[in-house]
């Protein structure tokens, strides 16, 4: 096995999933060498393929960056699993694979005869992972929602906002960016376990239960102290000032902000030096953290008056130079120009057949010996039919032609008219 080049080389995955969690899970493995085949259909496309941003604002299945961004290094085939011959192909893929990733609504795979018990009969050592909002069992397992709904159920919405206003969501489907990482971690542990024992297994991810790990302190606080965590804006129990402050903006349509966090009294002294020690900073009531917390409204107002005269970038550089936590409230545009983000090669430009050159996110970790490979853009729907059917499943040209004629292999002609969802 010494010829292993990438960490996940040789691992084969059949993906039956849509939206955020399932596809991001297998992407992580594909970018480190696993072979991932995405089973899709033009008749019921991944909803992300129907969401903004579309190339030239024109909605179409292969024009959305949302539809490609979670699918780098994967192969896409288009077959109709509601047809007997489509299911036959799916079964062959399952026998070929080490891992089946089920990211469908609970019950869907069973309807197709592709649930764990069925698959295990075909491939006894399969590692079968299901991911859904609330898990495969329990009274509410059938709930079919989205990450922006689950954000509320996992407690995050209720702790985002101001004490005197309603709770808020973040822009993203927050839990979709927690659950996949837990599933990747578990899947690799399961693959290793299989090497050691020869045994497969079934994994049931409730995205709620994974996401609640990021809410644990609030749950313990309730259990022990009967306290229900609420919303405290940007404030922090052990820091002041701790917030976002307005800055000078060159563009009247774009607000600029900087965040600053001052924890210890030493940091406060350094902070005052950066400001040039104006009179107000010398008031004894601001000398201690306790004093600053007690006079926080006034303190924030005064800090905000100072920050308004500088750009966010200037303040970040001044504060960081003095060892104080400060950062630009970056816009998406800022991220592309951020020298650290560039240094880390976070955004990788790839040329997509329809969308053209656009950026893909790299993993947040760099491996010193087996770096990720991000070279194949997220495929168009069914882009890899020929490769998969011939090279992996060994079908002949005639067989493929028949499947096409019978409509088992779906094509653009089968696609619904896309309502631009967002």
């Amino acid at each position: 096995m010494k010829d292993v080049k990438q960490a996940m080389d040789g691992v084969k995955i059949a993906e039956f999933a849509y939206a955020g969690v399932g596809p991001q899970t297998t992407r992580e493995l594909a970018e480190h060498g696993a072979t991932v085949i995405r089973v899709e259909s033009h008749r019921s496309p991944d909803p992300l393929r129907m969401m903004s941003p579309f190339r030239d604002f024109i909605p179409a299945l292969d024009r959305s960056a949302f539809g490609t961004c979670y699918n780098t290094q994967k192969y896409s085939i288009s077959i109709d699993l509601n047809m007997a011959k489509g299911l036959e192909i799916a079964r062959e893929l399952v026998v070929w694979s080490d891992v089946v990733l089920d990211g469908m609504t609970p019950g869907t795979m069973k309807k197709w005869g592709l649930d764990y018990d069925s698959v295990r009969n075909m491939r006894p050592d399969i590692i079968y992972a299901s991911t859904s909002q609330l898990g495969q069992s329990g009274p509410d397992a059938g709930f079919s929602g989205w990450g922006y709904l689950l954000m509320g159920m996992a407690g995050f919405t209720n702790i985002t906002g101001w004490p005197d206003r309603t709770p808020l969501n973040v822009l993203a489907s927050y839990t979709d960016y927690i659950a996949p990482w837990y599933l990747v971690t578990t899947l690799i542990a399961a693959l290793d376990y299989r090497i050691r024992t020869g045994e497969g297994m079934v994994i049931d991810q409730s995205q709620l239960e994974s996401s609640l790990q990021f809410f644990s302190p609030a749950l313990l606080d309730y259990d022990v102290n009967d306290r229900i965590m609420g919303r405290s804006g940007n404030r922090h129990p052990y820091a002041a000032p701790h917030g976002a402050f307005p800055c000078r903006s060159a563009d009247p349509l774009t607000e600029r902000w900087v965040t600053i966090a001052v924890f210890s009294d030493d940091e406060w002294q350094a902070f005052c030096k950066v400001l040039g020690e104006p009179e107000w900073t010398k008031q004894p009531k601001f000398d201690t953290l306790r004093g600053r917390k007690e006079n926080e409204d006034e303190l924030e107002h005064l800090v905000g008056e100072w920050t308004e005269d500088y750009t966010a970038e200037q303040i970040m550089a001044m504060m960081q130079g003095a060892g104080i936590s400060a950062g630009v409230v970056q816009t998406p545009e800022d991220l592309f120009n951020d020298p650290q983000v560039k240094h880390r090669e976070h955004f990788r430009l790839l040329e997509h057949k329809v969308i053209g050159w656009h950026s893909y996110n790299a993993p947040a970790y760099k491996l010193s010996k087996t770096p990720c490979d991000i070279s194949k853009p997220g495929p168009c729907l069914g882009e890899d039919n020929e490769f998969v059917f011939k090279e992996i499943l060994g079908l002949t040209n005639d067989e493929i032609a028949t499947l096409l004629v019978e409509g088992v292999i779906t094509t653009e002609a089968d696609a619904p008219k896309i309502p631009p969802v967002f």
């Binding site: 096995m1 919405t157 970790y365 010193s368």
Partner: protein, 430 residues
Amino acid sequence: MVEQQKSLLGGYRVLDLTDEKGFLCGKTLGDLGANVIKVESPGGDPARSIGPFYKDIPDLEKSLYWFAYNLNKRGITLNIETADGGEIFKRLVKTADFVIESFDSGYMDRLGLGYSELEKVNPRVIMTSITPFGQTGPYRDYEGADMILWSMGGVQFSTGEPDRPPLQMSLPQCYFHGGIQGAMGSMVAHYYRERTGEGQHVDVSIQQAIILTLMIAAEAWEIYGPTLLKAGVRLPARAGALRTMPRLASPWTMRMIWPCKDGYLIWSLAVAGGTAGNVTSSRALVRMMDRAGMAGELKDYDWTKLDTSKISQEEVDRIEAIIGKFFLANTKAEIFEESVRSSMFIAPVFTAKDIREYHHLKAREFWADVEHEELGDSITYPGAFVKISKAPWRVYRRPPLIGEHNEEIYMKELGLAKEQMLLLKQTNVI
């Protein structure tokens, strides 16, 4: 211990030197059954002073925050800044499979304990470093308080109310993202090591971990930005409860967070029409409203025709007013029960109390009571992040007291003599 051996990561040994920036990494590996040893400086990890605390008593042995992320770990103390401490650490590394740390970038190198040194001691070892911005680059030495990473990662810009500053969450999240990315990167490296015998260095940037949570904001800017700039339109910034999704090409405003009888609900008109799933959801909602005699003019509304890119703001307001009134007359539980039964895209905004009492989590036996004999009490922890048929998640041990396993690990496992231990304690190495 036997149970732990049979787990997914049974037998693998982890040295966890992290503070709050990386706790979740070791916790996650420990939950999968790895043998995790938390290495604290003598006197205890400073992160033990992060609240909330057990019964609100500030105490290094009573931090609930620390408990939450150090379950399933053993604990030793060691001053790795001393020569003796460094040597003992290297001896521990010989039998370790993973070393996890979240010190300032370059700190371990300066102590002669960086990856290039540890690799010589044990070529199989995987070293995972979790820092705000990564090990190299122009911001490698920048201070990264949690909120600063939230803003540098791009989430804060679009979170909050239009008339107030951009927001973070009241329970800061960035370090958790760094920790879980560390766990994932460690496992990728692990799979390579198990097949080749070679360890490597895993270098996590928490800033990047936050960028990954942006969903599609960066890509949308890249694709739509130039056109929008020309048109004098800017990216959606903070829109409070109103904005739903990136709506770069759409002029409308739709509410996402709705007050109801006993709290709040999440629902949006943006996912009420067009696709089959949206139509199903909307029809179910109207049926429910109709049963209460509150459907009004929506009774015969054709959701298949709803095109949210063309709808007028007046129509949005009209529909929302009828539905908003219905929400006010119902509880979170009443609405969500129907969501499950009839595939409605409406969910409750749960508080910590709601989550703890949620019947579905109870039915799935999510919660775990952990005995804290030192407190004479038991605390209920969140349980497994996934259910695994072969080796179910379990509590192997409660979070360690400061230096609780010094004797077990230094004497029994490393073979230090009693006199050596005493000396190391006296010189404050342990």
